[in-house]
């Protein structure tokens, strides 16, 4: 693996290169910054190649359709989907999960069946299952989280039991940074014929993700968390599962024949993409994928791991700081949640903001996990390959200042 000059890559990100004073952006788990190539591809799409996608017979429209479908191919290759039509463009990871909840689970759940999620799931991978369970008189079951912030599979003995109908877990926690043993869960689930949905919102674009290796049934992510544009995400599904799935949205582009009483759906994946496609979104996402692939996902993963180690040590050195989640190492991505004794995370984040350090404070859309941690919120610093050691030093300064301002005197 050729060494990547990550420091130089910072210049690819205009919003990071901009800053005077410098911006220490430690909120990539909320949304990543965008490289110039992605921004340019969107601009170029609108300014010089813009036309409606699908079924136009003039060159501009044909080209737009081709660009849209080429983006799908790029994405399919990126996650190593078996075939291109296993990739459905959605509005977001959130929509993708809702699509599976209402399109697959709602039509496959019997009264008394169970859907399993974990205690560390994002609301987007929790609420849709809660609703469909309530609708179908099914049970939402929770895989507990152990004291080190890992899935406690030992204490979920019925996870692969006879009523388990679907397992939906994240590959990387957006609060704890935990990398979950998805491959292992799928392997067990396969034996009991239980489909697994992987919420890969935090992992795709941050580490190599291979859907065939994971062998999962569904996988979802959002472009904006992987250097791509806002307003687009995707659902991967095996062909068999997608065929079992009803569309969430009905409308233009997803039907074959429309009758007054009944209609027949178009082929997959068009069936799941009602409405005019998000051309610029798909193009921007594909450019992001190309950009990340050129750097190399392994290199990105290693870079973030190095930074995470450094950040973990830096934070650990503070007596007042309580860190959540696994220790550093293979089972942890670049997300660090912490609290400072006696100080509300809002105050930490506010001081940080004033010092040019962008961190997040709150429940991070993980209220069930907050309950498990026994807090109402945490401060969170999250890293991407474009961060550097100065960003982490700046975070240390913030903690010092916060303790000075708000600490018990």
């Amino acid at each position: 693996m050729a060494a990547v000059d990550f420091e130089a890559l910072r210049d690819d990100f205009p919003n990071l290169a901009d800053g005077q004073p410098p911006l220490h952006y430690l909120d990539s788990a909320a949304s990543t910054q965008k490289p110039a190539c992605v921004i340019e591809s969107i601009r170029h799409c609108y300014a010089h190649e813009y036309g409606p996608v699908h079924r136009g017979l003039y060159p501009l429209a044909e080209n737009a359709s081709e660009n849209y479908e080429a983006a799908r191919r790029t994405l399919a290759r990126f996650i190593n989907a078996g075939t291109t039509d296993q990739v459905v463009f959605t509005r977001s990871a959130t929509e993708a999960i809702n699509l599976v909840a209402s399109g697959w689970a709602a039509t496959h759940l019997q009264s008394g069946d169970e859907i399993w999620v974990s205690q560390m799931e994002h609301h987007s991978n929790f609420l849709p299952w809660q609703r469909v369970c309530n609708q179908r008189d099914a049970r939402l079951r929770i895989i507990p989280v152990d004291d080190r912030g890992r899935l406690d599979l030992e204490n979920a003995p019925e996870l692969f039991g006879p009523r388990s109908r679907l397992i939906a877990i994240s590959q990387m926690s957006n609060v704890l940074g935990t990398i979950n043993p998805v491959r292992e869960v799928v392997e067990h689930a396969r034996r009991h014929d239980i489909p697994v949905l992987v919420d890969a919102a935090q992992s795709v674009g941050h580490m190599p993700v291979d859907v065939q290796e994971l062998d999962c049934d569904f996988l979802v992510a959002s472009a904006h968390k992987m250097c791509g544009p806002t307003g687009i995400g995707f659902l991967y599904g095996t062909s068999a599962r997608l065929r079992e799935t009803e569309p969430l949205l009905l409308g233009g582009g997803m039907v074959d024949e429309v009758g007054i009483d009944h209609s027949s759906w178009a082929e997959i994946p068009a069936r799941f993409e009602a409405g005019s496609p998000n051309l610029a979104g798909a193009v921007g996402l594909a450019t992001a994928v190309d950009y990340l692939s050129t750097i190399g996902l392994k290199a990105i993963e290693q870079r973030v791991r190095d930074l995470t180690d450094y950040a973990y040590q830096t934070l650990e050195a503070f007596d007042e700081v309580l860190l959540y989640g696994p220790e550093t190492g293979n089972e942890r991505g670049g997300i660090l949640s912490f609290n400072i004794e006696g100080i509300h995370p809002h105050d930490v984040a506010q001081v940080a903001g004033e010092q040019g350090v962008a961190i997040r404070a709150g429940h991070h859309c993980c209220q069930p996990l907050m309950q498990r941690l026994g807090v109402s919120s945490t401060a969170r610093a999250s890293l991407n390959f474009y961060n550097n050691e100065q960003d982490i030093s700046a975070l240390a300064d913030v903690i010092n200042e916060t303790v000075k301002l708000f600490g018990k005197r």
């Binding site: 509300h344 995370p345 809002h346 105050d347 506010q350 429940h363 109402s376 919120s377 301002l405």
Partner: protein, 148 residues
Amino acid sequence: MTDQSIYRAVLLDHFHNPRNKGDLGDMQIVRRGSNPRCGDEIEIGINCENNTLESVRFRGRGCSICLASASLMTESARGLKLTQARDLIEKMQLWFGDQGGVGPPGMGLAALGSVRQHPARKKCVLLAWQALDEILDEIERHPEIVGA
């Protein structure tokens, strides 16, 4: 720390040395305000005599803004007639509303103004005030509670 900074001396002082904070056991009416999004949880209690807020106290947990605002609220509300208190709350809400051009409803509260540029924290500021508002509602509905 600049003048613009929301951690103005006044707010920090109220955070570190909260006024009227503590047990609400002997209060006539107590109301709770909470913001599940960030875990702020405040209780406000009052004693009222002759339509006047004789004492206003609080307890709870939250960020510095939330606690400082509660402390400031108790200070400015104490001694007010009920109608005056209502008026004050309304002015606070207006000041923190979307509209511009409105000033702080009292000199003592000016320090909170620095929070107005941080929309995400308006809720922290207003939590205590909304709880007081609910107390006033309760008094209107059941004046007998405060012996009127």
